[in-house]
């Protein structure tokens, strides 16, 4: 009896997981094939397959939405956001996790509150500040707020992780004469691989998808990022859904690719962390 019960529960579990996975991947597949339909086909039936693939939608998306330029701008901003967030986040988190010093808790709490701030409430103050600092509409403009707002999460993740790493190894290294910096780089940083891989994905997609700051702080068309480009397909009184879907695919595909490229690393990193931890 238990055997059949087990068998049934096994099947049920597998079916359940497949249903969940399917729900996660189907929208992506739907976007891909719908972006190849004509506008009228799409209006008539949103589920049907395209009768003849319309690659014109993609050509239009690149021309109208200037997705080419925006693509590189997004890549640039996202790349540097990731690098600086991880660099700053890791070092700060290390200090916060390992040492006692005045205002330690104040600083930690300050960073954490960053996660609670609704960014739309800060658009005007940030604009005023950037104007005063002369930082509006530059290639590097967006990196500042992106890194700062991601820092909260980065410090939170790193700090929690470093705390779970036993301190003995570091201490042994120090007693053996390794400098503190050396210890941080050689011992602590490699141990944080799982957090770093997760961070790369999280912060990359955060910067890649960010909208309100990109709208307010950037003026020149040649510096705009993809999320702003997406809105070019939605006019005041008109919208072309298949073109918009093509543009969305252009926006979504790179992040999915970056993710798939790192997905294995994330898993490997986790196991590595687990073995050493």
């Amino acid at each position: 009896m238990t055997k059949t019960a087990n068998r049934i529960s096994q099947i049920a579990i597998n079916v359940f997981l497949f249903a969940v996975s399917l729900s996660c991947i189907f929208p992506l597949i739907w976007m891909l094939y719908s972006s190849l339909k004509t506008s009228q086909e799409f209006d008539l039936n949103i589920m049907s397959l395209p009768s003849k693939p319309q690659f014109q939608n993609y050509i239009d998306a690149f021309e109208i939405g200037k997705m080419g330029t925006y693509f590189w701008n997004s890549a640039f901003v996202s790349l540097f956001t990731v690098i600086f967030t991880i660099l700053f986040g890791f070092f700060t988190a290390y200090i916060l996790a390992r040492f006692k010093f005045p205002f330690r808790n104040v600083i930690y709490f300050m960073f954490l509150t960053g996660m609670l701030i609704p960014v739309h409430g800060l658009l005007i103050p940030i604009f005023v500040e950037f104007k005063a600092l002369g930082l509006l509409d530059k290639r590097i403009t967006l990196i500042f707020p992106y890194v700062a707002f991601n820092l909260s999460m980065a410090i939170f993740l790193f700090e929690n992780f470093i705390k779970t790493v036993p301190i003995d190894v570091e201490e042994a290294a120090c007693i053996d004469g390794s400098s503190s910096t050396n210890t941080v780089f050689r011992i602590v940083l490699p141990l944080c691989m799982p957090v770093i891989s997760t961070s790369i994905i999280l912060f990359f997609l955060g910067a890649w998808n960010e909208f309100p700051f990109a709208l307010v702080l950037i003026k020149s068309a040649e510096l705009r990022t993809l999320p702003i480009g997406l809105t070019n397909f939605n006019g005041q009184y008109t919208a072309n859904y298949t073109q918009m879907l093509a543009a969305m695919v252009i926006v979504v595909l790179p992040v999915v690719v970056v993710y798939l490229a790192f997905a294995k690393k994330v898993m490997q990193g986790m196991t590595a962390g687990a073995v050493k931890g």
């Binding site: 209006d43 604009f127 530059k138 290639r139 590097i140 050396n182 709208l215 939605n234 006019g235």
Partner: protein
């Protein structure tokens, strides 16, 4: 032992170097031009992208101006409509408006209160042919105490009923109903035939206000009521005439005039319902003409005719009124460098005058400036119908462009809440009146 520290400092240094280098790089790209030249550029922010999938007359006219005036240089920022609104409000708040930009009538009073806009009377006076070429009253929504702060290019109606002749005929109406009672009968007939009478996409919340309530309200209350309301001279939302108008809108919902998902689809999707032949009518501004002609199936285009709300028996206002006449208009920053003003005047004139108006007509839009011998211009059938229809109507104010932004926002939401049965018309009027009192005190 030193290795680690070196590596870290190196990493930090390299990163900051890259950052500084790119910062300089972008400086060269965007600000490297001659300082004097940069300041003489006209900072121009608008929403007409010449590469857009829906080409606009304004984009074409702006390009024409640039080609004809190569010595006038621009520092342009083009945003799509929704983004434009967010951005212009941020810039206004930070007192960083560009030289020339677009405003809606509802922004004018707030902007003027904050001293952000330049009166354009002197510019208008420079060329009387231009000034007098405007249709009567089109600049009124942008005028405060005799000073005109905005110059609009188009002023079509925000209320036009686009209907499918065949579906209406099937319901027993060989022509569009002449009275409100007949109109309601038509709707009942269509409901019986399982056809959505009116496709409505009110997700953006402005459609019910702009394309329905502004006209319906005026029919019941008359225009003086609205004037008195915005001037705070005694009219109230709770006045029985306005409550009746709310009731008329609500009754349309009750008798099943609209599709059930009217609040989760937008105005683009409402047209889709109509294109598919699932709905007999939809109501939107004149801008939908171009959309129908470019996106609807051929048999739908051929079957489409235009109308406005029929006369309402016993209602107090003019029964041929249609909300319209106000929209985006060009405005100028009050801190403008006077040296730029001449070129700016030339620019605005060239995109709004009667010459420009001809192009607008070709695009199926209704220009603010008068055009002589319209017959000579090639028009699409629906545009022609619409122009003919408009000869018999007169404009009344568009609520959501004349009321303050805060009141408009409140009204949009309250109308939708009334349409989902959260409020009765009386309650809706009371809530609106409360918002109004708050604002006026």
């Amino acid at each position: 032992m030193k290795k680690g520290f070196k590596r870290m400092t190196a990493m930090m240094l390299i990163s900051s170097l890259v950052l500084v280098a790119t910062a300089c790089g972008s400086n060269d790209a965007t600000e490297g031009t001659d300082e004097a030249k940069a300041t003489s550029k006209i900072k121009f922010m608008h929403m007409y992208d010449k590469n857009s999938s829906q080409p606009s007359h304004q984009a074409e006219l702006i390009e024409q101006f640039k080609a004809a005036n190569p010595d006038v240089t621009f520092d342009e920022e083009i945003q799509s409509h929704d983004n434009y609104e967010t951005k212009i409000k941020t810039l206004a708040a930070a007192n960083e408006l560009p030289d020339v930009f677009l405003v809606k009538p509802s922004m004018v009073s707030t902007f003027v209160e904050n001293g952000l806009l330049l009166p354009l009377n002197d510019q208008l006076d420079k060329n009387t042919a231009w000034k007098e070429g405007f249709n009567e009253g089109v600049l009124d929504p942008y005028t405060i105490d005799g000073k005109t702060y905005g110059i609009q290019m188009t002023g079509g109606p925000t209320h036009v009923i686009y209907y499918n002749k065949e579906l209406i005929a099937n319901a027993g109406f060989s022509e569009f109903p002449k009275t409100w009672t007949e109109f309601e009968t038509l709707i009942n007939k269509l409901v019986e035939q399982k056809i959505t009478p009116i496709a409505l996409g009110n997700k953006g919340k402005w459609v019910a206000n702009s394309s329905y309530m502004s006209t319906l309200g005026d029919r019941f209350t008359g225009t003086e009521w609205f004037t008195s309301l915005i001037d705070n001279k005694g009219a109230k939302f709770t006045d029985p005439e306005f409550v009746q108008a709310l009731g008329a809108l609500k009754n349309l919902v009750t008798i099943g005039a609209f599709n059930k998902d009217m609040n989760s689809i937008d105005n683009n999707q409402q047209r889709t319902l109509y294109y598919n032949g699932k709905a007999a009518m939809f109501i939107e501004g004149n801008w939908a003409v171009t959309a129908i002609e470019t996106s609807a199936p051929k048999e739908i285009i051929e079957n489409t005719a235009v109308a406005v709300f029929p006369a309402i028996e016993g209602a107090k206002g003019d029964q041929n009124s249609v909300s319209g006449g106000g929209g985006w208009a060009y405005a100028v920053n009050t801190n403008i460098d006077p040296a730029k003003l001449d070129n700016i005047q030339k620019l605005i004139q060239s995109v709004t005058d009667s010459e420009a108006a001809k192009l607008m007509l070709k695009y199926g839009d209704i220009p603010s400036s008068k055009v002589e011998n319209i017959e000579g211009i090639e028009l699409t059938p629906i545009s022609k119908d619409l122009l003919k229809l408009l000869e018999t109507t007169k404009y009344s104010p568009i609520y959501d462009t004349r009321l303050s932004p805060a009141l408009t926002e409140a009204m949009n939401t309250i109308l939708q809440e009334m349409m989902i049965d959260k409020y009765t018309p009386e309650q809706a009027a009371e809530v609106l009146q409360k918002e109004y009192d708050n604002e006026m005190k």
